[in-house]
């Protein structure tokens, strides 16, 4: 017994090291699997406040280009207003939000926005801006939420071609925030550079037809039965400041229905 104690004391540094590392790895794996804890993320009030102050200061430097964007959007909205299809849009509700923190250069980028459960934001809701798709809400705090953008290696988004109904999945390879990769498009379809990719509307997250990107080029390797398509994203993540959260009035019902199938 005494010998055991001696050995334990002698290697206590190593044991503490192992114990701490195990705890850290548990944190990592737990967070990878269940990213729900908003306390230990940028959805935390104090942390988000710091990011908001920083982005407020940085915001002054991009006022001009933001104004141009807003003006463009106003024109587009006014055009749409005349052709409004009220039946389709009635169940979609948009909540505008400001980006308080985001990264674009890492493999796993995240965006923090200044809307939370108080404003009716729930996990799994879609996020877009005036240009196109941005991402999906991942963690919700009371006043802030963290969004998993399409430029995150863990993201996947169901998309389709605007010209026909072929559906594929959009992934990101972690290299360039301007491009993503569309997969699962089989080779019997003809893909041309310049084809438009839009959301498929197959999940309740996004309504059908939100712009995603434009085909830059497509590669067909020998023996592959699917294209690897490089898509130029519509959304400019480098200057993302304002976004809209898409709230589908029927999302809960749709999810309950599909959950019941498993």
């Amino acid at each position: 017994m005494q010998n055991l104690l001696k050995i334990l004391l002698r290697y206590s540094n190593f044991l503490v090291f192992i114990a701490l590392e195990v705890a850290a790895f548990m944190l990592i794996t737990f967070n990878n699997a269940y990213p729900r804890s908003s306390v230990f993320s940028t959805a935390n009030k104090v942390v988000a406040w710091q990011h908001e102050v920083v982005s407020d200061i940085c915001g002054y430097f991009s006022l001009r280009s933001q104004n141009e964007l807003l003006a463009e959007e106003n024109v587009a909205l006014r055009n749409k207003l005349s052709a409004l299809d009220s039946a389709n849009t009635a169940m979609m509700h948009y909540v505008s939000a400001k980006v308080v923190q985001m990264t674009t250069g890492e493999l796993n980028n995240y965006i923090t926005i200044n809307r939370g459960s108080k404003d009716g934001i729930c996990r799994g809701q879609g996020v877009r801006n005036s240009e196109g798709v941005v991402g999906i809400v991942r963690t919700v705090g009371q006043n802030y939420s963290v969004v998993l953008p399409i430029i995150n290696t863990r993201s996947n988004l169901s998309c389709r071609f605007a010209k026909n109904d072929y559906v594929g999945t959009l992934h990101w390879d972690g290299k360039d925030s301007r491009f993503a990769q569309l997969q699962d498009i089989s080779t019997h379809m003809v893909v041309n550079p310049g084809d438009t990719i839009i959301t498929s509307g197959l999940s309740p997250v996004f309504p059908e037809g939100i712009p995603v990107g434009i085909v830059e080029n497509s590669v067909l390797k020998d023996g592959d039965s699917y294209y690897t398509i490089r898509v130029r994203l519509q959304t400019n993540f480098k200057r993302l400041k304002y976004v809209e959260v898409v709230q589908n009035a029927h999302q809960q019902e749709l999810e309950e229905l599909t959950d019941g199938l498993d």
Binding site: V16, A23, A24, N31, V47
Partner: protein, 154 residues
Amino acid sequence: MLVMLLQVLLFNQLQLWGVCHPYIYVLCLMMMPITLPHNADMFIGAAAGLVMDVFCNSMGVHTAACILLMFIRPYLLGLIVNDKDRLNEQISLRAVGMEAFVKYVVILVLVHHLTVFLLAAWSWSHIGFVLLETFVSSIITILLVIGYNMLKYR
């Protein structure tokens, strides 16, 4: 503490060429004198890492890297510093000499950055990108740490 604040406010905003994320906050961990017990050092490392994780949205990644850094630190110092009395003061350029200090900083920063980027990627499929990211970011961090020491202990 000040360096930590600087990291969060300034260096986390910095994203050069998409591959450069210098984590200069390791400076305060590396320069701590070896006066506390080794166990206590590792807990301090864990706490510092946890704070960074909260700000970087990367739960556990910086924590693991900082614990590793604090674990190997005394052994590394024992290997490359001859005069053990110097370890009771701040580990700086002046205290341990140019050659030993550069060796110490290069090894620790590489270990720390590689751990952070590997754990953040959480797969081997991006290994090339991870190595490039580690290389570029480490160079910037090392230059900043050594530059800071040169200015302060001129």
